[in-house]
């Protein structure tokens, strides 16, 4: 790989040897153009797989460095790399469109939490935990957002669908894997363990 630092007006022709400068320019432009995160594997395709994964990752890290001072950042989420605004810019973005993004109701968020932390679960499992029926609209809302989908069916009568969270869920919450979900603390017990049970 020739590392000749060249002048700006260079074209982005791949026939030439790819300088890191050109490569970064292409990576950056493609990432800015694509809303979905792009994996290193996909990004390597841009250069006909001529660059190895480690090199691409290094260049991505260099691009990330370059952007730290700006209102936009390059982040690495479950499905790959993507540009997004920093949280501090969001109020300004919101001013452009008065539409607020939905803040989901407790019922929706609790259902999501059960699916995220206990997956794969059936609707019945969710109802058992919440102690209340789960409307199909809640599940539809979550799948409309692309956050959950059906990953199979439990082999019991009725063969209920098993729900799990998706990559899009991880992406939208800036996570790389389910392990990055906030850990649930052990909660204080509602009963003293050794206490003799008095009759009410």
């Amino acid at each position: 790989m020739s590392v000749k630092l060249v002048n700006p007006p260079e074209t982005l022709d791949t026939q030439d040897t790819l300088s890191p400068f050109k490569t970064k320019r292409i990576l950056e432009a493609v990432l800015l153009t694509t809303q979905e995160p792009l994996s290193v594997t996909e990004l390597r395709k841009l250069f006909d797989n001529e660059l190895n994964a480690a090199l691409v990752t290094n260049l991505l890290n260099e691009i990330r460095e370059k952007w730290t001072e700006s209102g936009v950042e390059l982040v690495h989420v479950a499905s790959g790399w993507r540009f997004q605004t920093k949280a501090e810019v969001q109020p300004f973005v919101d001013r452009l469109s008065p539409q607020k993004t939905p803040r989901y109701s407790r019922a929706v968020m609790e259902t999501l939490a059960i699916i995220a932390y206990r997956q794969p679960v059936t609707r019945g499992d969710i109802e058992d935990i919440r102690g209340v029926g789960v409307s199909s609209n809640i599940l539809k809302t979550l799948s409309a957002r692309g956050w959950i989908d059906t990953v199979g069916h439990r082999n019991v009568p009725g063969r209920p669908a098993l729900f799990a969270t998706t990559q899009a869920f991880l992406n939208d919450l800036n996570l790389r894997s389910l392990e990055e979900l906030p850990p649930l603390d052990e909660l204080g017990s509602l009963v003293e363990k050794n206490e003799e049970l008095p009759l009410a």
Binding site: F83, Q84, A87, T101, E110, E192, L199
Partner: protein, 268 residues
Amino acid sequence: MNPNHLDSADTPPVAKICGEPLMEIPQDLYIPPDALEVFLDTFQGPLDLLLYLIRKHNLEILDIPMAELTKQYMAYVEMMHAEQLELAAEYLLMTALLIEIKSRMLLPKPVATNEEESDPRAELVRRLLEYERIKQAANLLNELPQAERDFTTIQVWMEQKTLNQPPNISIDDLRHAWITLITRAKINRHHQVSRETLSVRAYMSQVLRHLHGRQQVTFYELFSPTASVAEVVVIFLAILELAKEALVAILQPEVFGVIYVRETSQST
């Protein structure tokens, strides 16, 4: 930014009754009847309510005054069964469980069984703990930065690509778009659209299409001979709605004569 809406570190009022905040449930668990409805709305269900009562009063689950609680739950069920049958059933189930626990505790313990298993409250406690953990999980999830709410993904305009591949959408995308729209309370107030009005709206478009480019059509022409009764009613409502919105004019030149409908926007 990103205030945690699911949490309530500052303990907001439990409910508001006639503008007065109800800060907590009285110790005797009595809730004024007029408060009940609002109050129940704030809970996700019987488990949520029970958990709240236990945490709020710092109760050991063992100390819950079962009789009182059962009575209270029965009152909820009474109140709900008319309107929210399904939810009433959930509360009824919980009441049944509480009564069962109560009654089993009054019975002498079977000798052979091991003590933990024999405590009728164990299963309820397990469920309460599991639910509490999930509530915590929901709060934590809600605190994570969320695409569109807390940050926006970047997609720079690219002319050619958009032309070549028109995006596909699904009903789900529309659903998501509308949920975004109704997030503003204002929309909710102005646009209470039910299934019925939607079909009226659909026929409004159809009638306008039918009228388009014609001088006027007779009233009867707008009804397909094969239309069902329901359809006829909806088409009729659509015409009335169009007239109300001044999109069509309904004319009857002679008394008891033919009724005509015409597009108001047509140049005369």
